[in-house]
């Protein structure tokens, strides 16, 4: 049963708004010209689907070697995002 008292809850997947904190690092941060933004998008959108909206070149795909972290853990770019998530795009790692 769906209550009509809770209009903010989705009645179908992908309809509710989600605020996501997006972070970029290193070469990716410099290429895009920003390090962090708050973005209002749709609950359930995936990092892969969000990327073309962020990339100034409007490329469909994540650049080769770029990995995704959700809430500071590596995640599949096809993971659905939830409201309040911290999403990061990470260029190829070079530590140690």
């Amino acid at each position: 049963m769906v209550s009509s008292d809770t209009p903010d809850l989705p009645t179908a997947a992908g309809m509710a708004a989600a605020t996501v904190r997006v972070r970029l690092f290193a070469s990716l941060r410099e290429a895009m010209g920003w390090s962090e933004q708050r973005l209002t998008t749709t609950v359930g959108i995936t990092p892969a689907a969000l990327w073309p909206q962020l990339d100034p070149a409007g490329l469909e795909d994540l650049p080769a070697g770029v990995r995704v972290a959700i809430n500071q853990q590596f995640a599949d770019p096809a993971t659905p995002l939830a409201d309040g998530d911290e999403l990061a795009f990470l260029p190829p790692i070079s530590g140690g």
Binding site: F25, G65, Q72, Q73, I93, S94
Partner: protein, 149 residues
């Protein structure tokens, strides 16, 4: 498990010695084997140019958590007694220590294997990004050198 990031230079041997002394003070017994790796900033870059310093960017919060996770997982897999990781962040001068991995175990083989594996794991699975500074020009290093490079 002892993992930390250091914005300032540290003495790698001092770090390992203090860590080991604390462990022995707590446990009363020195494991028979210690395997250590210390990585320093190379004076020359991939193209042979002189490198003045490396700038090390990280993802505050995630980097620490990820290092801890890698250390715990490697320690469990190999059944070692204790693992220590020290990693610089920020500007690291040529010749300075950038990473230290130390593993204590009852047997030399497990200590050595865990030390090697954790080093590879953190090079590929912990969020760090290096920028080489050479004659005032900074270049992001994409990916890690192979084991033999």
């Amino acid at each position: 498990m002892s993992v930390s990031l250091h914005p300032d230079p540290f003495g790698p041997f001092l770090q390992v010695e203090q860590w080991q002394q604390q462990l022995v003070a707590g446990q009363g017994d020195s494991p028979a084997a210690a395997s250590l790796f210390i990585g320093r900033v190379r004076g020359t870059g991939a193209e042979g140019q002189p490198v003045d310093a490396l700038e090390l960017e990280h993802y505050p919060g995630m980097t620490e958590t990820q290092l801890q996770r890698l250390a715990v997982s490697c320690a469990r897999r190999h059944g070692v007694t204790a693992v220590m990781v020290r990693h610089r962040v920020g500007l690291v001068l040529s010749g300075d220590a950038i990473v230290v991995v130390a593993v204590l175990a009852d047997h030399r083989g497990t200590a050595q294997r865990c030390c090697q594996e954790l080093l590879e794991a953190l090079k590929h699975e912990a969020p760090f990004w290096k920028r080489e500074w050479s004659s005032g020009v900074g270049t992001w290093v994409e990916g890690n050198t192979a084991l033999d490079r």
